[in-house]
């Protein structure tokens, strides 16, 4: 029964995908095409761009992404617990408190470490 529920999602995907493809094709067909080398240049405030945009970038963004992955996994772990929270009772709650305490400890560590400092 459950997998039946996913059929409408496939339907929606077909409709949405069809719309996107159609729109992209139509705009490609209908739009005027008068290209020139200057027009196809990248915008860099009206002057020739200096260097490539695909340069090594600040590591801090990557750090944020890594931290996100770490914490997101932990958050996802909370979901099954939250659904069954009432059945698990006090024991489950206390157990999860311990888990959250660990999570917070790690969180405190990265803050103290300055991983999220941008200045």
């Amino acid at each position: 029964m459950q997998s039946v529920n996913y059929i409408p999602i496939v339907l929606q995907l077909l409709v949405a995908g069809g719309f996107v493809t159609l729109a992209m094709t139509l705009t490609h067909v209908w739009g005027p095409k008068r290209k020139s080398a200057e027009k196809l240049e990248n915008f860099e405030c009206g002057i020739e761009s200096q260097g490539n945009a695909r340069m090594p970038f600040s590591i801090k963004y990557f750090l944020t992404a890594i931290l996100f992955v770490l914490f997101d996994v932990e958050v996802i772990f909370l979901y099954p617990w939250a659904v069954n929270f009432k059945e698990l009772g006090l024991f489950g709650f206390v157990e999860m408190l311990v888990f959250i305490a660990f999570l917070l400890l790690g969180f405190l560590y990265i803050i103290k470490k300055g991983a999220l400092k941008w200045e």
Partner: protein
């Protein structure tokens, strides 16, 4: 072979061109920023990205024709530029201006200052992302422009007034429009201040953003609101009063940190002070003539030109620049919307100036810009620029 002595040197930075056509560079100027992520490592402003050679053009124009050139410097408050130039000329020829004309000038100059500050402060709002205040208060700027329009027919590049005073007395509509503008500014500006000045996000963005100390500011030659925000109470209107500013009662607001928030608040307060000055001028307006009695420099009324011989001769001589100008060297400064706007004029007695130099406040602020934004974030850099009210027209050198 390039040799690296320090590991830091090897770090790669991104080069980002901020300008010439960037939404935040109001006007055309270029900054080449070296960025480490969001942080600006160094910046290099291109001085003179636009160069219209006003000073050079002015050396080839009769004195009468230089006024329109001054319009184009700080185009947010062109009447101040126009009148500053007129006063410089009057200083050179030693003309005595009637009190009434001086008061009228003060009214227009203070309106221009309000317009300038409206632009600056509302654009600070835009650059922090709050567009509403901007479009809301620009209605008042529109009202001020209508006053200009009533007096001289133009709005942005006003070319307002004449050497010696005004071309005509303010009519009834003008006075009504000035009154109307003041009432509306008082109401709307209070709303604008309520919207932004205590907004937590706005304060977080502005406080401590692009600060400059008083010593540094003085060292760079800052004047006007930007210097006052750093805590130095220097105002040309008080230090060397011109056009009867000594008759008026007003206070000069000063900040403490010289950061964006201080600049914002100083300008806010100055708007209220300007309104006070205009009200005083309107209430105590002396009777008298609206122009000085200097027929060799003051353009005669058009009616007289068609009917009277002397008027026709003077008209011809003034327009063609055939009037003799005394030899000499004068410096006159006025408190422009952005700071001390100076005119250094050397006359050798010919029909054009021998040398004319404009002291443009923005040009000086822009020199300090790289130092102020070093180590700041990209957003701060933009906010600093707009809060200093760097107008591209004044970077023209």
């Amino acid at each position: 072979m390039q040799q690296y002595t320090d590991i830091e040197e090897e770090k790669e930075y991104n080069t980002l061109n901020l300008g010439p056509t960037h939404p935040a560079t109001h006007g055309i100027f270029q900054n080449v920023l070296k960025m480490d992520g969001e942080i600006i490592v160094s910046s290099e402003p291109t001085i003179g990205y636009i160069h219209r050679a006003f000073e050079k053009i002015a050396e080839h124009r009769p004195y009468y024709q230089i006024t329109p050139l001054t319009d184009r410097m700080n185009y947010c408050s062109s009447p101040i530029n126009n009148m500053g130039w007129h006063m410089t000329m009057e200083k050179l020829i030693g003309a005595e201006i009637p009190k009434r004309a001086q008061y009228m000038r003060i009214i227009i100059m203070e309106l221009a200052r309000i317009a300038d500050h409206i632009v600056c402060n509302s654009v600070i709002g835009v650059d922090t992302g709050a567009l509403t205040g901007f479009t809301y208060v620009w209605q008042d700027r529109e009202k001020i422009y209508e006053v200009y329009e009533e007096i001289c027919g133009a709005r942005l590049t006003t070319n307002i007034g004449r050497i010696g005073g005004f071309e005509r007395d303010f009519n009834k509509t003008t006075w009504e429009k000035i009154n109307d503008a003041l009432n509306s500014i008082e109401k709307r500006w209070a709303e604008f201040e309520r919207l932004l000045s205590r907004n937590r996000i706005f304060m977080d963005r502005c406080i401590g953003c692009g600060p400059i100390t008083a010593e540094k500011a003085l060292g760079y030659g800052f004047t006007g609101p930007n210097l006052r925000a750093a805590g130095v109470d220097y105002d040309v209107r008080v230090m060397s009063p011109y056009s009867s500013y000594e008759d008026f009662d007003f206070t000069i607001p000063v900040g403490t940190n010289g950061d964006t928030y201080d600049r914002f608040m100083v300008r806010n307060t100055e708007i209220w002070e300007s309104i006070k000055i205009i009200r005083q001028a309107m209430n105590n307006l002396p009777e008298g003539n609206y122009h000085a009695d200097i027929p060799e420099f003051y353009l005669p009324p058009k009616d007289d030109v068609y009917t009277k011989m002397e008027a026709l001769i003077y008209h011809f001589k003034i327009v063609m620049g055939e009037t003799d100008v005394p030899k000499g060297e004068v410096y006159h400064c006025v408190e422009g919307g952005n700071g001390e706007l100076g005119f250094y004029l050397v006359s050798d007695g010919g029909r054009t100036p021998y040398r004319l130099h404009f002291r443009r406040p923005c040009f000086i602020y822009y020199q300090a810009y790289p130092e102020m934004i070093k180590g700041a974030m990209l957003s701060d850099a933009i906010l600093t620029m707009s809060s200093m009210n760097v107008i591209a027209g004044e970077l023209d050198a």
